[in-house]
């Protein structure tokens, strides 16, 4: 983490983003019986959001220095 200041800010922002994505009310938007490619949207959403947060953290933490 070359510039600790900016990286820490990015991580904290990612944390807040994750906190919002995995909580009410965003979560309630997907609490429906519809499905995507046969898979319930709630599951699709949670796993995609999860993967997105992990990708974001990986990008922040492992950027070439």
């Amino acid at each position: 983490m070359r510039k600790p200041g900016i990286d820490q800010q990015r991580l904290i922002a990612t944390f807040i983003l994750g906190g919002v994505l995995f909580n009410y009310p965003i979560l309630s938007l997907f609490n429906t019986s519809s499905s995507l490619l046969g898979i319930p949207v709630l599951y699709v959403y949670v796993f995609l959001a999860w993967g997105f947060v992990i990708g974001l953290v990986a990008w922040i933490a492992e950027r070439p220095r």
């Binding site: 820490q8 904290i12 944390f15 909580n23 709630l42 796993f47 933490a61 492992e62």
Partner: protein
């Protein structure tokens, strides 16, 4: 088809493989070529978080309420985002302070308190027991089920078997044996177990592989992919509601609380702390762990819901515990190898947890509970023992056995009433109680020992009351009425609806109350209690660990003999190791031999840190205290500290004083510089004036001489007149030069003074006689009034004559012809004699009275009026009078004449002093 002995053999083979990996890891570590020093092994080892709970329990939870199992993994993902800040800080603090366990960490932060270390240990052990029982239950159940293969029969919950016929008991014994083999083969000063980490990382791979294999088999083997599985699940009325699990707001509340709970658990579970902090090789590994560990969680959870739904669809009649789907689905499909793989995966998940957890707990029990007690109560006997390292290992071995057996006891008492996840959550809620004390401790210097004690105790009591007590009540070990009516019929104290808070699930309810009291008391008591000196120092060390690079300061004020310290450390680390370490210290301080090493505070602190590595900070403190006569921080000490402080203040005052002096000196120098510049300017002015004054007579002399030279036939009268002017001008030139030289001599103090006793009257008479011609020439009247009683005084006759002549001739010069009057008087004025020379001439204006005494300044417009003197007479007079200690001044009014007066002191001593000077 699948005999019991095959399963047992497979299990043992697997455990032996683990042991081999651990053995290899230790060997490599001993040779300094660590196999765990890379970020991927580190991240995989953190995946010890995924236990039998994840492997079996998640599916069970998912079969009951859909996605509700996920917060347990989303929480760690969110926490991992913050690891680079907070976990890195904890790692750094632990490295700097040689922390060996969670209890050690908390105790160190709050002033190396043995009481706190003990409390943390008790909470950790009691809190983790349900979790260990969960693993035992999972292993014994999966074994019991697999043995029935190909039949699928659930273990009979109601059946009570004797301990010796209980699979779980043997599982516990075997696990205890392996844990002892893994964790207590030798004593490591830093409590690091490289081999164990390598084995755990390997286990993480195995359980992931097994779980994904089962998941893929269910999804793609038993069903036609995810879409097919979910479509069929949607058609099932039991499963359909699980796709939209949030049916009221309390679901969101418990979702959020589970997330928070698991965020705290991933940090403060003893095994997570052990692997993430104590076993951490390099802080930089966190960079990979922050995304790889969550990715692992994601990977192992992808197939949880498919397996759960697949299980519900495959066993429509029920009768199969959802917690066992991972195992029973391959069994139902007659897939022997996969069933065995699933069993090994579950075994892997459970053993990894039990081994690391009990090693971490046994370290805590030994260092923070048993040793401090032994050292205190039987100190004398312990101190006599030469090598305590074997005692330490024995304590740990017993601790491992006791902890696992307690876990088994919990399983027997309360394990059957709950599903796997519910059992695990009880443990999560227990370790979450460490959150305020630790997170507060690393970011807030104000947290005190009393605050941590109060918060932890309150949180623990509420945890036990709201979670542990109901667990026993539900298992019929306590009366059911406790839950339904409250203790003694007090409804407000019902453990599941404490203070009337109803409508929440058990975990949310317990977390709300325990955290409220824990955080509230931690902050409240911290703000109303005071820190000791040691606490304050430790708080600063912890909170400012990134800003303070120096070694932790020692609070030992005493000294000890190096030999005693070495023997003490040798008892715990082995004599050779101790010898090595102290020799290294001696080398570091460039001493020739160990014997030269002084037993000063630094050496004592070094020994303390070595011991802390072996037995924890609080035990080390007790041990060191036994050989170091520590001088308590008494009044004298405090006075010394105050003294130092006041010295510092004094120094600072002195510095201020110096700086003020420097400023004054600077001001002085600046003034001196200005004066010098002014003098320089005056000198330049003087030279230019002198050259001007010299040029004027020279020019006229030269002009007249040239006229005389060029006109030899000039008539005589003209020639005589010109020659007269030449002579007069030459005289003036001579006079001028003489006076300039004279003035220069007087001013530089090089003038010759011929002092003798003289009568001023004679001088005045002589001067008047010498200037009689002037008076007669201008027809000026003279009046003298010389007092007769003036004593003789000492002075230079010629110089005083010069003054008188100058004043008298000036007076005559400025009088009008014929009507002019000059008055010369002399009288005694106190200690002085005063001489006045007055005239009734043109007078001097007030502003000119000052400048007449300046060099070359003649009153009147020098450009139009022909100068009547050199402009040096009065300055010279003033210099002469000043030399004799007198004063020369003028009183005048324009048009009414002026009076020049001077005084000379009569006191011979005063004049002698002056003369001597």
């Amino acid at each position: 088809m699948l005999q019991g002995w095959v399963i047992v053999l497979t299990s043992f083979a697997y455990l032996c493989l683990l042991f081999a990996i651990a053995f290899y890891g230790d060997r490599r570590a001993d040779r300094g070529r660590s196999i765990i020093a890379n970020p991927y092994i580190y991240s995989l080892s953190l995946a010890v978080y995924a236990t039998a709970w994840t492997f079996y329990g998640s599916v069970g939870r998912a079969a009951a309420d859909g996605i509700g199992f996920l917060p347990i993994y989303l929480g760690p993902t969110l926490m991992a985002v913050l690891w680079w800040m907070c976990l890195r800080k904890i790692i750094r603090i632990s490295k700097v302070n040689r922390i060996t366990s969670l209890a050690d960490f908390v105790a160190s932060r709050y002033g190396k308190s043995a009481l706190l270390a003990g409390l943390v240990t008790v909470i950790a052990v009691l809190g983790i027991l349900p979790y260990i029982s969960l693993q035992l239950k999972a292993i014994s159940n999966s074994f019991t089920i697999l043995v029935q293969y190909p039949a699928i029969e659930m273990p009979d919950k109601q059946r009570s078997v004797a301990v010796l016929q209980d699979t779980a008991f043997y599982v516990a014994m075997i696990l205890a044996g392996f844990t002892i083999a893994f964790g207590t083969r030798e004593l490591d000063a830093a409590e690091r177990h490289e081999g164990m980490v390598a084995a755990v990382a390997f286990e993480s791979l195995v359980k992931l592989l097994a779980f994904v294999a089962v998941g893929a088999f269910v999804t793609f083997g038993m069903f036609d992919g995810l879409a097919d599985l979910f479509t069929r699940a949607r058609a099932d009325p039991r499963i359909e509601p699980l796709m939209t699990p949030f049916d009221d707001f309390s679901n969101y509340a418990s979702w959020t609380w589970l997330t928070v709970l698991s965020m705290l658990a991933i940090m403060f579970l003893p095994r997570q702390f052990q692997l993430a902090v104590i076993e951490n090789v390099d802080e930089k590994h966190l960079r990979t762990a922050v995304w790889l560990f969550p990715l692992y969680m994601l990977a192992i959870n992808v197939f949880v819901i498919p397996i759960a739904f697949g299980g519900l669809l495959s066993f429509p009649k029920g009768g199969v515990d959802a917690d066992t789907f991972v195992l029973t689905l391959p069994m139902a499909e007659q897939h022997t190898a996969l069933a065995l793989l699933a069993f090994v995966g579950g075994l892997s998940a459970a053993t990894g947890m039990v081994i690391v957890e009990t090693i971490a707990l046994s370290t805590m029990v030994c260092n923070d509970l048993v040793m401090p007690a032994l050292l205190r109560s039987r100190r004398l006997r312990l101190n006599e023992r030469q090598d305590l390292s074997s005692l330490l290992l024995d304590i740990r071995r017993w601790a491992i056995v006791v902890i696992i057996m307690l876990g088994y006891l919990y399983f027997r008492l309360a394990g059957e009433a709950y599903a796997l996840v519910s059992i695990g959550l009880i443990s999560f809620a227990a370790v979450a109680q460490f959150g305020p004390a630790i997170l507060g401790g690393i970011y807030w210097k104000g947290g005190t020992r009393a605050g941590a004690l109060a918060g932890l105790s309150a949180g623990f009591v509420i945890w036990a009351y709201t979670l542990l007590l109901p667990a026993f009540a539900r298992s019929q070990w306590l009366p059911q009425s406790l839950l339904t009516e409250g203790p003694f019929g007090i409804a407000l104290l019902k453990p599941l609806e404490l203070f009337g808070l109803a409508g929440l699930d058990q975990i949310t309810h317990a977390m709300i109350w325990s955290m409220l009291f824990n955080i509230g008391l931690y902050i409240g008591v911290s703000l109303t209690s005071r820190q000791s000196v040691v606490e304050h120092g430790q708080a600063t060390l912890f909170v400012d660990v990134f800003t303070k690079t120096r070694e932790p300061s020692s609070f030992w004020r005493g000294t000890a003999s190096t030999r005693e310290l070495r023997i003490l450390v040798g008892r715990f680390l082995g004599p050779e190791r101790a010898q090595e370490q102290f020799a290294a210290l001696a080398r570091e301080r460039s001493l020739r031999s160990l014997e030269d090493l002084p037993g000063d505070a630094e050496c004592v602190h070094f020994a303390e840190r070595l011991l802390a590595g072996a037995v924890g900070a609080s035990s080390a403190r007790v041990l060191i205290a036994s050989v170091v006569e520590e001088e308590p921080l008494g009044i004298e000490e405090v006075m010394n500290i105050l003294d130092e402080t006041s010295h510092v203040i004094a120094y600072s005052h002195q510095l201020e004083e110096k700086s003020r002096e420097l400023e004054a000196a600077t001001t002085g120098l600046r003034a001196a510089n200005e004066r010098l510049t002014e003098l320089d300017r005056m000198k330049d002015d003087f030279i230019s004036t002198v050259s001007h004054e010299l040029r004027t007579p020279l020019t006229s002399i030269r002009a007249l001489s040239e006229i005389l030279h060029d006109n030899p036939d000039l008539d005589r009268a003209q020639r005589v007149r010109f020659l007269g002017i030449v002579i007069k001008e030459s005289e003036r030139l001579t006079r001028l030069i003489n006076q300039v030289l004279d003035l220069a001599k007087i001013e530089s103090g090089k003038a010759q003074w011929h002092n003798s006793e003289l009568d001023l009257r004679d001088i005045i008479d002589d001067a008047l006689a010498a200037t009689r011609g002037l008076f007669e020439e201008k027809n000026v009247a003279l009046a003298t009034q010389l007092a007769a009683d003036v004593p003789r005084l000492v002075g230079d006759r010629d110089r005083l004559m010069q003054v008188m002549l100058n004043l008298i001739s000036n007076a005559v010069k400025f009088c009008a012809p014929d009507s002019g009057r000059v008055r010369v008087s002399m009288h005694r004025q106190g200690d002085c004699v005063q001489v006045d020379v007055g005239d009734n001439g043109i007078g001097i204006s007030a502003e000119n009275q000052r400048i007449v005494f300046e060099k070359f300044r003649q009153v009147g417009d020098t450009l139009t009026d022909r100068p009547q003197g050199t402009g040096l007479g009065l300055p010279i007079c003033r210099q002469i009078i000043n030399h004799f200690g007198g004063r020369l001044w003028v009183e005048s009014r324009l048009g009414e004449g002026s009076t020049f007066s001077f005084t000379l002191p009569l006191d011979p001593r005063a004049s002698d002093d002056k003369l001597a000077a």
